[in-house]
Structure formats: C-alpha cells, structure tokens
C-alpha cells in the first residue's frame, strides 16, 4: 500500500477528484493548507502599508491505495492538477505498513 500526498492548487480539486475516481480511487481526505515553494507569496497593499503574504492557500489530498493502483493514481493527479505555471504543487509517495477499516476490522488492501 502507498500513501499518496498531493499538494495542489485549490481550484484544481474537482478535476483531480474526478480523475482519481476514474482510475478507481474510492476515497480521499482533503485539507485546506497554506504554504510556499518556488512560487513564493504575493504583496498586498492597504493604503500606505505593504505586506508580503508568504503563505499561499493550497489543498492537500491524502489517499491510500494498493501498490498496483499507485502509479495510475499519481499519473491521474499529475495530469489533472497541471497548469504548467509555477505553483502547481507536488506529489509525495510513502509506503504504508498497515490499514484497518474500523467498522469491519478488515486489514490491508481490503481496508483501503
């Protein structure tokens, strides 16, 4: 099993969700987050006061999938979230030791 963490532009969430559903991913956890990478922040001016906003709003998606689905899921996310402009985000992949579905106590691939 793999945990896939993707940080994407917020307005791309719907497209990424649909693309993941198309490759068979049945669930996900989404968090509104802030951060910066190479894109950096922007400047806001209020009358005479100028503020640099370093942290931009992003969306973090977390999914856990069986090993054989991971490749397709990563490809689906990358394609759907891409605009080609700076700030499109990143995808991280982490191996997962175990997964448990609380309701049925199923374990492993059956639980995700």
């Amino acid at each position: 099993m793999k945990l896939i963490i993707a940080i994407i532009k917020p307005f791309k969430l719907e497209e990424v969700k649909d693309a993941l559903a198309a490759v068979g991913v049945e669930g996900m956890t989404v968090t509104e987050v802030k951060g910066f990478g190479r894109q950096k922040g922007h400047t806001e001016i209020y009358r005479g006061s100028e503020y640099t906003v370093d942290f931009l709003p992003k969306v973090k998606i977390e999914i856990v999938v069986p090993d054989e689905v991971a490749g397709k899921a990563i490809e689906a996310i990358s394609k759907a979230a891409k605009t080609g402009k700076i700030g499109d985000g990143k995808v991280f992949v982490v191996p997962i030791e175990e997964a448990i579905r609380i309701r049925t106590e199923e374990r492993g691939d059956a639980a995700v």
């Binding site: 806001e44 001016i45 209020y46 009358r47 005479g48 006061s49 503020y51 906003v53």
Partner: protein
C-alpha cells in the same frame, strides 16, 4: 403689598384679553414663510413645520446611522480580527457617554446663549430644560427645539468616535471613555459654540458680532479637524502598536469596511443636507454637492492607485469616498456643483499623499488613517471653502448678520480664505494643546495602554469578554 396685588390683577386682566386673531394676510404670510423656511411672524409662532421637522428627524437618524453601525463597521473591518469588537464597543460606549453629557450640559454649552460669550453657550438648557417641541428661533423657525438638540447630539457623538481610528487596537476601553469625557468639555463644546452658536466667535453666517467671519456648513473644523488633529496627538502619545512595521496588520475584513463606507455615505446626507436645518433649497444644494464630491473622490483615489500601483483597491475606493465626504462637509451648503467636483479631486489627491507618503516618512502609527483622512481632509475642506463659497447657492452668505460682521464683503470681493485660515489655526491649537493635556492627565490617573500580553492576545477577549468570530 397693595401695589403688588394691583400688579397681579392687571397682569391677569391682560392675560384674559384674547389676542387679536391674525389677519388672513398674516396667516398667508406665515404659510409662505413655511415654504421659504423663514420667519412665520405673528401667526404659527411656536409651531413646528411638518416637512422641515420630518426631514430633520430623518437626518438625525441618518447621522446616528453614520456612527452605528457605519463608522463602527468601517473601522471594525480595518482592524485585525482579534480587535474587531473593541472598535464596536468603543463606538457604542462613546455614543452612550456623549448622549448623557449632551443632555446634561453639552447642548446648553453649545447652543445656549445665557453666558453671552463667544466661547461658551449658556446654562439655560442644562438637562434640556425648556427644550420642547416648539422651535428655538435662534436656530430654526420650523424645526422642533428637541429635534434640533437630538440632531446636533449625533454630531457630538460621531466626532470623538472618529478618534478611535488612530488609536485602534492598543488603548484601554476605560481610558478612551475617560479621555472622551474630558475632551468633549474642553474641545468639542467650546469649538462647536464658536462655529455654530448664535453668539459664537467664528459663526460668520449667523452671528453679526462674530470676530472671525469664517464659515463651516456641516463641521469641517468642529468635527473633522478637531477629531483628526486630536487623533494624531493621542496616537503619538500612545505610541505604535506592538509589532508595528514588522508584523502584518492587514484589515481582517474588507467586506465589512465596504459595508460601513456605504452606510457612511448614505448617513452623510443627513449630516450635510440636514445641516440646512430645514428641507429647503440650501439642503438640496448640499445634497447635490455631497454626492458629486464623494463620487469624484472615490473614483480619483481608485484611479491614482490603478495608475501608480497597478491595482484599484476596495480600500482605495472607500478611502476616497470618505475623504470626499470629509472635504465637502464644510463647503457643501456654500459651493456649486463645479466647486464640488474640484473639491472631489483635491479630496482624493491630498489625503492619498498624507496616508501613503507623509505617514511613511514620519512613521507614526495612525492605525486607520484618522489623521490622514479627517484632519488633512477637514483642513483642506475648510480652506477651499474660503475660495469656492458663493452667495449664488446660499443667500445667507450675504444676509443681514453677514453684512454686519463683514462676511458678505469677503464672499463677494474675495479674502474669505484668510478668515478660514484663522478658524483653522484656532481649531488646530485648541485640539492639539487640549489633547496633550488630557492624554497625560488620563495616563497619570489610570494609564492609557493595556498590558503587552493583553494587546498581543487581543482586546476583544480581555477587555470585553467576547470574540468577534466564534470558531
């Protein structure tokens, strides 16, 4: 003893003789006077005119609307979310305190005349004694005296509330209330009497004995200069907010700020057009000039930002609108529509420079730009009124008192701006000196600032026990 009794008898006899009924001509003249907002003569004395009274009650409510919730939201949106309630509380607290002061002493000290003084009114209306629904013909032939008193009360309320903008996010609530209480007696009441009182020092239009023949239609000096310059001094004595210049102190809600601005603009019609104290042609002119100057100033401020900084911001439009309203205030009943457009442009350019360049150069923490907009705007408004005032829109500029004290000559042949400069100087000195004294007095007795921990955590939770946004 007998002589005295005889006297009472003769008085009774006089009282029993019915007064001669007014002739048809007198009754007609009184009705014409009502239409013209003039002296009714013998008939209809002591009767409030329904149309004028209705407009003044509407205007009174509009001016209150400027403070609650207009100014409260305008300022409230501009502070950080941890302090939004403190601003609302300050506006509400000031409204309550000033209303009580006005009832007890304020109205009388401004609009009474028993002291026969150019600096203070009188004591005859303390606790609004004798202030009834019958008009006080010193100020209006057709507006109920109590309505006039309530109308003027709303000006007394919003003036100290404007100061809140410069000292936002860092002054104790009790210290603000204490400061405002003393400030009203030392600055507002005397200044309002000098400018608007029937025996006032600078009441060029209505006081034939005025030593300084200045004019101020709706409060450029009394309201905006007094509050704005006092705000600057108080903010200097108070010192900057913790983290000023290093931490982000951006407005927490530009939406609330814009909503408040719209309310200020709407309410300002009561402030400016209501200052005609009647629903007459002068009110109509003030209504028109107020609209034009405000729209032009909002547009100009936005345009300056778009040209020089790339974005026309909501705060830019809002600042321009408020600045336009401020600058047209002393002029609105005295200038024509061309004058209003000129004032609109000036109202954006000069306060814009004050809020961006001047503040950056000197580094004072005028948190919400009360000084940049109200002091600077009020001052240029008072001065430009001296250049643009014309008797063609307001015949009172060449009325009998104005002829007697010399104002009429200044209006027709130029030179009014010099009288305006004198009024500006007096307002400046009074506001600055008084604020220094009162601020240090309050500082010595109860202190001005909350502890650093309180300021860091926010005034809402610590001073008022509430949160603006419960999450």
């Amino acid at each position: 003893m007998f002589a005295c009794l005889a006297c009472v008898c003769s008085l009774t006899a006089v009282a029993q003789t019915p007064p001669a009924a007014p002739t048809t001509d007198e009754r007609l003249a009184a009705l014409e006077a009502y239409i013209n907002n003039g002296d009714p003569g013998k008939s209809l004395t002591g009767v409030a005119g329904p149309g004028h009274n209705a407009w003044m009650m509407t205007s009174t409510a509009l001016v209150l609307f400027m403070t609650l919730p207009g100014l409260a939201l305008f300022y409230g949106g501009l502070v950080r979310r941890k302090n939004v309630l403190s601003v609302l509380a300050q506006c509400l607290g000031i409204t309550g305190v000033v209303a009580v002061l006005w009832w007890a002493f304020g109205y009388s000290l401004v609009f009474g005349k028993s002291f026969n003084s150019p600096y203070f009114g009188g004591s005859e209306y303390f606790f609004l004694k004798g202030v009834t629904s019958a008009p006080n013909t010193d100020y209006a032939y057709w507006v109920s005296h109590n309505v006039f008193a309530m109308y003027q009360m709303m000006f007394a309320i919003i003036t100290p509330a404007l100061i809140v903008g410069a000292i936002a996010e860092r002054m104790k609530f009790t210290s603000i209330i204490a400061f405002v209480t003393v400030w009203m007696f030392v600055v507002y009441f005397p200044l309002a009497h000098m400018v608007w009182g029937s025996t006032g020092l600078m009441n060029g239009v209505w006081n034939g004995d005025a030593k300084i023949t200045a004019i101020d239609f709706a409060g450029g000096t009394v309201v905006h200069m007094s509050s704005g310059w006092s705000a600057l001094i108080l903010c200097l004595i108070l010192g900057p907010r913790i983290g000023f210049g290093r931490e982000k102190m951006a407005p927490h809600s530009m939406v609330l700020c814009m909503v408040g601005t719209g309310m200020l603009w709407v309410g300002w019609y009561g402030f400016n057009a209501g200052s005609a104290v009647g629903a007459d042609g002068i009110a109509a002119n003030a209504f028109t000039t107020t609209t034009l100057a405000t729209a032009v100033a909002a547009l100009t401020w936005g345009a300056i930002e778009r040209i020089f900084r790339g974005h026309a911001s909501i705060l830019g439009f809002c600042s321009g609108a408020v600045a336009g309203l401020v600058v047209i205030t002393p002029a609105c009943g005295f200038v024509d529509s061309t004058g209003a457009v000129i004032i609109g442009v000036l109202a954006a350019v000069v306060p814009y420079l004050a809020c961006t360049k001047l503040k950056a150069k000197f580094g004072y923490d005028d948190a919400l730009d009360t000084f940049g907009v109200h002091a600077v705007g009020g001052t240029i408004g008072a001065l430009t009124t001296g250049f643009l005032a014309t008797a063609s829109v307001n015949a009172n500029l060449t009325g009998a008192p104005a002829v007697k004290n010399g104002l009429a000559k200044l209006v027709t042949s130029g030179g009014l701006w010099l009288a305006q400069l004198k009024a500006i100087a007096i307002t400046l000195v009074l506001a600055i000196v008084a604020t220094v004294i009162i601020a240090y007095l309050v500082k010595a007795v109860i202190g001005l600032r909350p502890t650093e921990e309180v300021e860091r955590q926010g005034l809402d939770i610590n001073e008022h026990g509430e949160e603006g946004y419960v999450t």
